[in-house]
């Protein structure tokens, strides 16, 4: 019998390409192969849907728009812009008029203030880097027991080449007081009603002035699209996406920790549960801390879970990434973790980028075969075999397995 899953696997490339738009309807729910571990409501609710200028992505919510990238687009280290995931917290998302737009820079932790137009930003020395933007809650939907929130599968992430000005160059124009402990960012988006806390985030000053922290105006060689933060957004390589403020309007240095909703209680993890190096001490409490670095992780992108594969040598492909220490090894197991073999690593686009990997498996028997991938970074951090559960569903980096049928 030809099941839905088999049809999808066979036609995955096609469904995401030219015929994808035909799936942009309420019946499209039947055409997405979502992980079985997601909440049943998520599996019933998600459809392939195309936002303006985007390929059909997996729509989890229309408003604010939360759309994840299907796994098929993660077979390259750079994620195509039109397939890049979309994530917003609040529903009032104005299209910025660049003729009147400026970023104001100042705050009580700065010596002065300034405002920069897009042309001003482009006059600073340009910096370019490849970095992963990964939602802190990526794979939240796979948590057991489930936790509430946007029930992401594997695709709330992407890797792009970003170009922009260094944040430290902007801050140098106004000068930081030595007491400035955090830099606070606001964007043009907001809630529908005044009482909804505006989406505002802060980062430690030490992180803000790193060479790799950018105010980007280009993504993959083109101006930032609206849904990715036009005209300019924060790029914070190695740290989770919550800080990567889109449609930037304000950058403020402060001498006291930002006390807004989106810094506390939102986006918190229990203190000491994750093996993270980078700390955000001005925001730590006795029990929890804001998210910081991306945890080391990997994803198998070939074959797709549930695929039918012809018997014979088969390429296991995927991507690995971490918080900027760099991937040292990816190992593959075909016996559910008893033994592991090193995969070949693909091109190195920098320590913040997706690193592709491939491994040739030579199976001996037909039937169901499960393979698992495990990445390790250059400081020895590796993925977990058991979920580190936390109340808001962050930092899921359990080893990924796929099961396919050898026929």
């Amino acid at each position: 019998m030809l099941t839905r899953r088999h049809l999808i696997t066979a036609g995955a490339g096609l469904a995401l390409g030219g015929s994808g738009l035909a799936l942009n309807s309420r019946t499209a729910a039947a055409a997405i192969d979502l992980p079985a571990a997601l909440p049943q409501g998520t599996r019933n609710n998600a459809i392939l849907d195309a936002l303006p200028g985007k390929k059909p992505l997996i729509k989890l919510s229309y408003r604010p728009p939360n759309y994840e990238t299907p796994i098929e687009y993660f077979r390259t280290a750079i994620t195509p812009t039109d397939a890049f995931f979309v994530r917003y917290h609040l529903s009032n998302i104005p299209e910025v008029d660049v003729r009147t737009w400026k970023i104001s820079v100042g705050g009580e932790g700065a010596n002065g203030e300034a405002a920069f137009t897009l042309d001003d930003l482009k006059r600073f020395p340009a910096a370019e880097l490849v970095a992963v933007n990964l939602c802190s809650g990526n794979r939240r939907g796979l948590f057991q027991p489930h936790v509430p929130g946007v029930e992401w599968g594997y695709g709330a992430m992407g890797c792009a080449r970003w170009k922009g000005a260094r944040l430290k160059d902007l801050l140098d124009k106004v000068g930081l007081k030595k007491e400035a402990i955090e830099i606070v960012f606001d964007g043009a988006d907001s809630g529908v009603i005044d009482k909804t806390p505006d989406f505002i985030k802060s980062i430690p000053t030490w992180k803000a002035i790193e060479e790799t922290t950018l105010i980007a105006y280009e993504m993959n060689g083109a101006p930032l699209p609206h849904l990715h933060g036009f005209p300019a957004r924060l790029i914070l390589p190695g740290w989770t996406g919550t800080y990567w403020m889109k449609h930037l309007t304000s950058i403020k240095a402060v001498t006291k920790p930002d006390a807004g909703y989106w810094m506390n209680p939102a986006y918190r993890i229990p203190l000491g549960r994750f093996p993270l190096v980078a700390r955000f001490t001005s925001q730590e409490t006795a029990t929890n801390t804001p998210l910081t670095e991306i945890v080391v992780n990997s994803l198998i992108t070939t074959p797709i879970d549930g695929a039918n594969v012809r018997m014979g040598p088969i390429t296991i492909g995927g991507i690995a990434w971490d918080g900027g220490y760099g991937i040292s090894t990816v190992e593959v197991s075909s016996d559910r973790g008893r033994t592991w073999a090193a995969a070949n690593l693909g091109e190195d686009l920098g320590r913040f980028a997706f690193r592709t990997f491939s491994y040739t498996l030579s199976p001996k028997v037909r039937g169901k075969q499960t393979v698992t991938a495990r990445a390790t970074n250059k400081i020895g951090q590796t993925q977990t075999s058991e979920l580190i559960h936390n109340p808001s569903g962050y930092n899921h980096n359990v080893v990924h397995s796929v099961t396919f049928n050898l026929a």
Partner: protein
């Protein structure tokens, strides 16, 4: 003043993608009108379906409270109870 001008300019054009939003049809049951009237102004109702059916009664209560207390939703106590009951009966565990 400059900040004010920037804010006004930024708000001049609404988010176009909302135009393609399709109606999310929730289960027809007592309380649905109250849910639609109070919740859909700030977010599409697929948030409810997506977060189901795992929430128990306490979790749905907490979510409704969060919308009011943390996000400032202007929902009366009476409507909050109708909404929570609807969610528990139709999208809860």
């Amino acid at each position: 003043m400059r900040a004010l001008i920037i804010v006004m300019a930024a708000c001049a054009i609404p988010f176009v993608a909302a135009a393609q939003e399709k109606p999310v049809e929730l289960k027809k049951a007592p309380g649905l009108d109250t849910v639609e009237a109070n919740c859909s102004g700030c977010h599409s109702l697929d948030y409810i379906v997506m977060n189901s059916p795992f929430p128990n009664a306490a979790l749905w209560d907490a979510e409704v409270t969060k919308m009011i207390k943390a996000f400032g939703a202007p929902i009366s106590d009476a409507d909050a109870k109708v909404i929570a009951d609807y969610l528990k009966h139709n999208y809860g565990s």
